[in-house]
């Protein structure tokens, strides 16, 4: 019986609608509501980061509202809101135009592209004592089997003494070295004499002896290992080592 009831309602409803409709048709339709005045579109665009190096990319982000036609120069039509990754090779100004019923709006964002990597910031310009020492102190070279300072090394001694007197806070060690010929023990003793000779020459030139330590390495720690006179001369030396 419900089934029949449903059909009854339906027929009544439809006929009511028809009647109403018909009625309505006869009546003048109400006037459509007046369209609201169109809102002005808004637009904003930004690029992050604002400065990149050539080859890097930045993210371009824009927002608009009330716009139906949004475009960015150089890219083309875009969605009203969105973001895009860009990596131009040159500095670019991104010009966004948003057109809508309410008009159009523009926005720009500038992306700077630097061609060369920015130079690393130069190190702190303070020079350490150790560097000064290494730059200014000259080692003293010796003749074969000799531990006395030879004539042509006197200038080195004097220059070293001068520098050391100018920097009285610097302490150091003099190492005595020998070339590879000769016997282990004897070379250690000879190296000791060489270090002492340099120390004595410096103290005679006014350097305070308490700043100076000496040690001999004989032929145990050579500077080079070839078997020729050039290398041997390199190894026969009093070597300065900064010790603060």
């Amino acid at each position: 019986m419900k089934y029949r009831l449903k059909w009854l309602f339906l027929i009544v409803g439809l006929s009511a609608l028809l009647a109403l409709g018909a009625c309505k048709k006869k009546a003048a339709p109400p006037p459509p509501p007046p369209p609201p005045p169109p809102a002005s579109p808004t637009a904003s665009i930004s690029v992050n980061p604002s400065s990149i190096q050539a080859g890097q990319s930045a993210s371009l982000t824009w927002q608009t509202s009330n716009a139906t036609d949004v475009s960015i120069d150089g890219i083309g039509a875009v969605q009203p809101n969105g973001s895009q990754s860009v990596s131009p090779t040159d500095s670019t100004t991104y010009h966004l135009t948003a057109k809508g019923a309410g008009g159009s709006q523009e926005a720009t964002a500038r992306l700077t592209v630097t061609q060369a990597p920015p130079p690393p910031p130069p190190p702190a310009p303070t020079v350490t004592d150790e560097d000064l020492f290494a730059q200014n102190i000259k080692d003293v070279y010796f003749d074969y089997d000799k531990s006395d300072v030879r004539g042509d090394q006197q200038s080195s001694i004097q220059a070293d003494a001068q520098f050391l007197n100018q920097h009285p806070s610097m302490n150091f060690t003099i190492e005595g070295h020998c070339d590879e010929r000769g016997s282990t023990d004897y070379n250690l003793a000879l190296g000791d004499q060489r270090a002492s000779a340099v120390k004595n020459a410096l103290t005679a030139a006014g350097v305070n002896a308490s700043r100076i330590k000496t040690i001999s390495y004989g032929k145990e720690k050579p500077f080079c290992s070839e078997s020729n006179e050039a290398c041997w001369q390199q190894n026969r030396r009093g070597h300065f080592l900064y010790t603060k």
């Binding site: 089997d145 000769g182 016997s183 282990t184 023990d185 004897y186 003793a189 000879l190 000791d192």
Partner: protein, 487 residues
């Protein structure tokens, strides 16, 4: 004439007798008178006879009865004994025998070969049957050609239940009456080092018997410097190069090891952050023991033969000089004066009253000797570059390294030399080139160990004190500054 002869013979003076015989005419002319007078003066023949018997009695009285006598002398060509060393035979059927036999036989052969006392007959001349027990010895097979041996060493070796037993004999194969010179038995737990040690002991017994009482060196040790771990450390090894093992672990530089006479400690020079100091390693405790730091550069320690004193080079007063302290490092006093680096002292092993050392006071380093108190300074070499002296155990010889012609630009080949201290005559021992240095005597006075770079790498070598039987002992890394133990 008879009485003339009597006259002549009773005269003790040979010269007088000769001159009389040279002048027969004189005699003849004086005969008559002489005959009568001398007869009367000297008495009768019985007196002469009495004199003769008296002399015989005197000679006979020098007989020491019930005493064995040996009569021998110099100039009789003392040569090396020709010895055959038969491979020892296995006494049991244990499988360990093979490897242990090889170790034993090789070690025994090598010990006798390098001893300097015997000449080993090559095994290719041996008869096919070698004895393992005394009854098996066939004398004629050994004392005749081809082996032509004077001595035979033989024996057997066997493992039973993990226990190794070795029996060895030394036979004089030319003396079939009483051939046995030595008969020895050794027993220990079966292992390779045990077999090696038994061979060393047997070889030492043989050498002591045949070498006239001088002990053999088969159980001695050599201490040296090796850098094979990356740092120069002190190592030790058997005298034949086996059993090389590390002693110090300083991680710095350790140089010039010297073992004490009683074998308990090694003195050496080590690099600290402040310089070179004398350091002491105890073999008994297997670790470093303390030794006072002196300051300056302290190098090349050396022990006196009685073990109570240490000599070394120290620059703590400015110039490297020789100091003597007691073996704990206290009481150090300076012994050399004057300029010039003084290093490498070494005591006279026989007397302890003398020290040999190296000094550069006249330029290139030379060898000097002096008393322990610094008196009596004597220069032994006068040219070239002479370093690293070492006294022989009998006190007669110094061995050292010498570049006789040395100068700037010279590549510096140095050789080992032997010098007789009293006469200052020397002999060159090495000739094969390279740089040879740091010789050290063996306790039997017959061998010298030294370092040489003749192969291109610095290694340790040994040789007999006449320069023969040169053998390389180390093969890994760079090895230097060997020091032979005292016993």
């Amino acid at each position: 004439m008879k009485s003339t002869e009597t006259t002549a013979n009773s005269l003790q003076s040979a010269a007088y007798r000769n001159t009389i015989l040279m002048y027969p005419k004189l005699l003849l002319s004086r005969m008559d008178e002489a005959d009568r007078t001398s007869s009367r003066w000297c008495g009768s023949k019985p007196l002469v006879r009495a004199l003769v018997f008296l002399c015989i009695y005197c000679l006979l009285s020098t007989v020491l009865l019930a005493q064995d006598w040996i009569k021998t002398g110099t100039g009789l060509g003392v040569e090396k004994v020709r010895m055959a060393v038969a491979d020892f035979k296995p006494a049991t059927a244990d499988p360990q025998n093979t490897a242990l036999l090889k170790t034993f036989n090789d070690t025994l052969w090598n010990d006798l070969d390098v001893s300097g006392v015997v000449e080993l007959v090559s095994k290719s001349f041996y008869p096919l049957q070698v004895p393992g027990q005394p009854p098996e010895v066939n004398f004629m097979a050994w004392n005749a050609p081809p082996p032509n041996a004077a001595m035979l060493a033989f024996g057997n070796l066997g493992v039973t239940n993990g226990r190794l037993t070795v029996q060895g004999w030394l036979y004089d194969v030319k003396n079939t009456q009483s051939p046995q010179v030595l008969g020895k038995q050794y027993a220990d737990t079966a292992s390779d080092p045990a077999a090696r040690l038994m061979a060393h002991k047997f070889a030492d017994e043989i050498i002591a018997r045949l070498g006239g009482g001088v002990e053999g060196i088969a159980e001695t040790q050599i201490y040296f410097v090796s850098d094979r771990t990356g740092h120069k450390e002190i190592w030790a090894m058997d005298y034949d190069g086996s059993n090389q093992h590390q002693l110090t672990h300083l991680g710095s530089i350790a140089l010039s090891p010297r073992i004490s006479p009683d074998g308990s400690r090694i003195a050496f020079s080590g690099l600290t952050k402040n310089g070179w100091e004398i350091m002491m390693y105890s073999l008994e405790l297997s670790r470093m023991v303390s030794f006072p730091h002196m300051g300056g550069t302290n190098l090349s320690p050396a022990w006196s033969a009685d073990g109570t004193k240490l000599a070394f080079s120290s620059s703590r007063a400015g110039d490297p000089a020789i100091y003597v302290a007691d073996n704990s490092g206290s009481g150090a006093r300076r012994v050399t004066t004057g300029k010039g680096p003084d290093v490498s002292p070494v005591f006279n092993r026989k007397t302890d009253g003398q020290i040999a050392f190296v000094s550069g006071r006249t330029g290139l380093p030379q060898i000097y000797t002096m008393g322990v108190d610094g008196t009596n300074l004597l220069k032994l070499t006068d040219q070239g570059y002479a370093v690293s002296p070492n006294w022989s155990p009998n006190g007669q010889f110094l061995t050292f390294a010498w570049v006789r012609k040395y100068g700037p630009g010279d590549p510096g080949a140095s050789d080992i030399y032997l010098m007789d201290i009293a006469s200052k005559q020397w002999v060159q021992l090495t000739h094969d080139g390279g740089r040879n240095d740091f010789p050290s005597w063996s306790p039997d006075g017959r061998h010298i160990v030294f370092q040489s770079n003749r192969t291109g790498s610095l290694e340790i070598w040994s040789m007999l004190a006449d320069g023969s039987k040169v053998q390389q002992l180390t093969f890994t890394g760079h090895n230097s500054q060997p020091n032979w133990s005292w016993k």
